[in-house]
């Protein structure tokens, strides 16, 4: 009986609840996420052109950039200026392209395209508002150094670069 009482008292003491204030702390950190929403595809409207423009049977690649805090990142979007793989090409390829803001999560971002700057193939956007921005990238490759030569048959690959650089 004595042992039973001791055991019970120990069990009760082990399950006694203590009231205390517990702080919950948290930190909101800046963060950038680069999403590849839509893979691009080249259309071949004529023998000497490859293009991602939908009107020419191409598909524009869409990149989505999410930032959790304002003024923490710059987005840099570059269209391709070479093929990452292709058949052997004996002539020059002329590259053109453009990055464009196609959608934003808030209207505060509507000035992103106008405020962006272009350096070669790369367009830089200051992400001054927290939220999501969608960018499309047009790319056109023309073969033959202006003489409209047909691209050799085969598979062509090119790379769009989407960067998120901390400010």
């Amino acid at each position: 009986m004595k042992y039973l009482l001791i055991t019970l008292s120990l069990m009760l003491s082990a399950t006694t609840a203590y009231a205390a204030n517990i702080d919950i702390t948290g930190t909101v950190q800046s963060r950038c996420i680069v999403n590849t929403d839509t893979a691009g595809m080249y259309g071949n409207p004529n023998a000497y052109t490859l293009t991602t423009v939908p009107a020419s049977a191409g598909q524009l690649p869409i990149v989505r950039v999410d930032v959790s805090l304002a003024n923490a990142y710059n987005a840099k979007i570059s269209y391709p200026t070479s093929f990452s793989s292709s058949p052997s090409l004996g002539d020059t390829v002329a590259w053109t392209g453009a990055a464009t803001v196609v959608q934003t999560s808030t209207s505060d971002m509507s000035g992103y395209q106008a405020a962006s700057s272009l350096s070669g193939a790369m367009r830089t956007y200051a992400l001054t508002v927290a939220g999501t921005t969608w960018f499309s990238v047009a790319s056109v490759a023309t073969y033959g150094g202006g003489q409209q030569k047909p691209f050799p048959g085969g598979s062509y690959k090119a790379v769009v670069l989407a960067e998120c650089i901390a400010q």
């Binding site: 963060r31 990142y73 769009v160």
Partner: protein, 120 residues
């Protein structure tokens, strides 16, 4: 209401993403004298990417020598990784950016993602 709908769509969408934190890493002392260390975290939500290359650069985007377990990290889809970057104290003073870049395998027009954190 509008924002919560957008957030719900974002959370439910099958996004293909690359993420690296912190945005502003700091150097701390390592267990070796004269060597600094910082810890970064990455998350791979890109099923088309299994490898990411790590690089450290100065203000002019010139590479700065550093040491990590693997400069090209194998990171499977939906995996997290934490990795330490070590650098001599002399070089750490020059380091401005630490970047991870996706290594691509795929067809047609591919999208390479690159995220750079900055030492401040």
């Amino acid at each position: 209401m509008y924002r919560s709908i957008i957030l719900s769509i974002l959370l439910c969408s099958n996004a293909i993403a690359h993420e690296m934190t912190p945005t502003y890493p700091t150097w701390e002392s390592s267990y070796m004298e004269g060597i600094k260390k910082t810890t970064m975290a990455m998350f791979n939500r890109r099923p088309d990417v299994e490898y990411y290359e790590i690089g450290v650069f100065d203000k002019e985007w010139k590479p700065v020598p550093f040491v990590t377990s693997y400069k090209i990290i194998n990171l499977k889809y939906l995996s997290h990784v934490k990795f330490d970057v070590y650098m001599s104290a002399k070089h750490s003073a020059k380091a401005e950016y630490i970047c991870s870049t996706s290594k691509l395998r795929g067809d047609n027009v591919m999208i390479a993602s690159k995220i750079c954190s900055r030492f401040k």
